[in-house]
């Protein structure tokens, strides 16, 4: 009986270690219940989302302050994004959102620059000042073909 008790305890410890490993994977690596759950959401309209996807970062001053909840096409001509911003970050009403790239070939992210107003955006508010993705190919083609007319 004593031996069986020891087996039971070892098995219990084994199961706990296994469950800890599973939950570490889920919570730490998989980000269940992480940034996506807390915080408040804002809306922003862009003429060109430039490849920003669900889960892309939202940054202010180079610090991640949230994630993109969804990107969808509105009225068949522009992109509407739901931004999930961390609870403790306040964004002014005249803040400016732009689509940027990390490095030269890196991921796209949304950069938010604070404005001058004292009022902050409420949950569900809209960031009205936006700047679309800079498309290098567009710039080059403008430069090359502009002199040909």
């Amino acid at each position: 009986m004593q031996a069986y008790r020891r087996i039971e305890m070892t098995v219990g410890a084994f199961v706990i270690v296994g469950l800890l490993a599973i939950s570490w994977l889920a919570i730490k690596v998989g980000q269940v219940g992480g940034l996506g759950e807390s915080g408040y959401s804002l809306i922003a309209n862009f003429d060109d989302a430039g490849g920003v996807r669900k889960g892309s970062d939202v940054m202010m001053a180079g610090v991640v302050i949230g994630r993109i909840d969804s990107v969808k096409l509105t009225n068949n001509d522009h992109a509407t994004m739901m931004l999930r911003i961390n609870q403790d970050v306040k964004i002014t009403e005249d803040a400016f959102a732009s689509v940027r790239t990390k490095g030269i070939i890196g991921d796209r992210y949304i950069r938010i620059t604070q404005g001058m107003e004292d009022e902050n955006l409420e949950a569900g508010g809209e960031i009205e000042e936006t700047e679309s993705a800079i498309n290098i190919e567009d710039l080059i083609s403008k430069y090359i073909f502009s002199g040909k007319e």
Binding site: Y4, F14, G18, A21, A26
Partner: protein, 266 residues
């Protein structure tokens, strides 16, 4: 004329042999499925086999822990080493964490973990049950009105189904950890970049994929290894052959099912 009949009979023998082995394969597949599912269905009725389940979980799960930790550790280390030299050519060493984590969580953890468990636990299940058949212990159980499927097969199948996901999760964590040690401490990758890229690139979907695979592999290993032992030819060679076959068939099945799961569902 006689040559023609010779040829025909050769073809006929070939067809006959092929047909016979196909039918026997189907029969075995059906038999294995029926036996395994019947044993599993006994979980819903009393008497519970809690004690035997715990003992099996100890023998199969805890017993495989050491081999899983060692395999996981060296897999993570070698992945970090190989990945580093490949990524360094493109100057993107910071992606090392994502590479190591992705390969371990999605593929190597479940598959290598399953292989180790087949070698360590699956073979012992088959051999043990096979020898119980040879020494007529199962018949003795039946004489005492104890259902051998309930007493012998059920605890082992359930223990393997439960142990494989736990062991695979431990494999994943150990692999990522040793990959971190090699990548960051030995090769000088930025420690923040390793974990940040790992967390950023791996979604919950990838982790679910690994779990689904490990549960399915556990089910497969449990079914195949118990079946092979239970239906082994009750001789010394029969048990030896059954053990070999159990290891070979479960390994091949794991690889095939792994491809199917990856391509269709995950």
């Amino acid at each position: 004329m006689s040559e023609l009949t010779m040829k025909q009979s050769g073809l006929a023998t070939f067809l006959g042999r092929l047909g016979r082995s196909t039918l026997r394969g189907c029969e075995q597949l059906g038999d294995a499925t029926m036996l395994g599912l019947h044993a599993l269905s006994l979980i819903f009725s009393k008497p519970w086999q809690g004690k035997h389940f715990i003992i099996q979980l100890y023998a199969l799960g805890v017993g495989s822990l050491a081999i899983i930790v060692i395999t996981g550790a060296f897999t993570g280390m070698v992945l970090a080493l190989q990945g580093y030299y490949t990524l360094a050519k493109f100057g993107s060493e910071s992606l090392l964490g994502a590479g190591v984590g992705m390969s371990i969580i999605r593929e190597l953890g479940p598959v290598l973990g399953a292989f180790m468990i087949i070698g360590r636990a699956g073979s012992s299940i088959t051999a043990e049950i096979g020898i119980m058949r040879v020494t007529e212990q199962t018949d003795a159980l039946e004489m005492m009105a104890v259902n051998p499927k309930r007493r012998i097969l059920l605890p082992r199948i359930v223990a393997v189904i439960l142990a494989v996901p736990l062991l695979v999760a431990i494999f994943d964590v150990v692999g990522i950890g040793t990959g971190y040690i090699v990548g960051v401490e030995l090769l000088g990758v930025n420690p923040g970049a390793y974990m940040a890229e790992l967390v950023a690139k791996i979604s919950m979907h990838d982790i679910y994929g690994g779990w689904v695979k490990s549960v399915v592999f556990g089910f497969l290993i449990g079914m195949i290894c118990t079946y092979m032992g239970y239906r082994a030819v009750p001789t010394t060679e029969g048990v030896a052959q059954a053990t070999t076959q159990a290891v070979v068939i479960s390994s091949v099945c794991v690889l095939i099912i792994d491809y199917i799961l990856t391509s269709f569902f995950l």
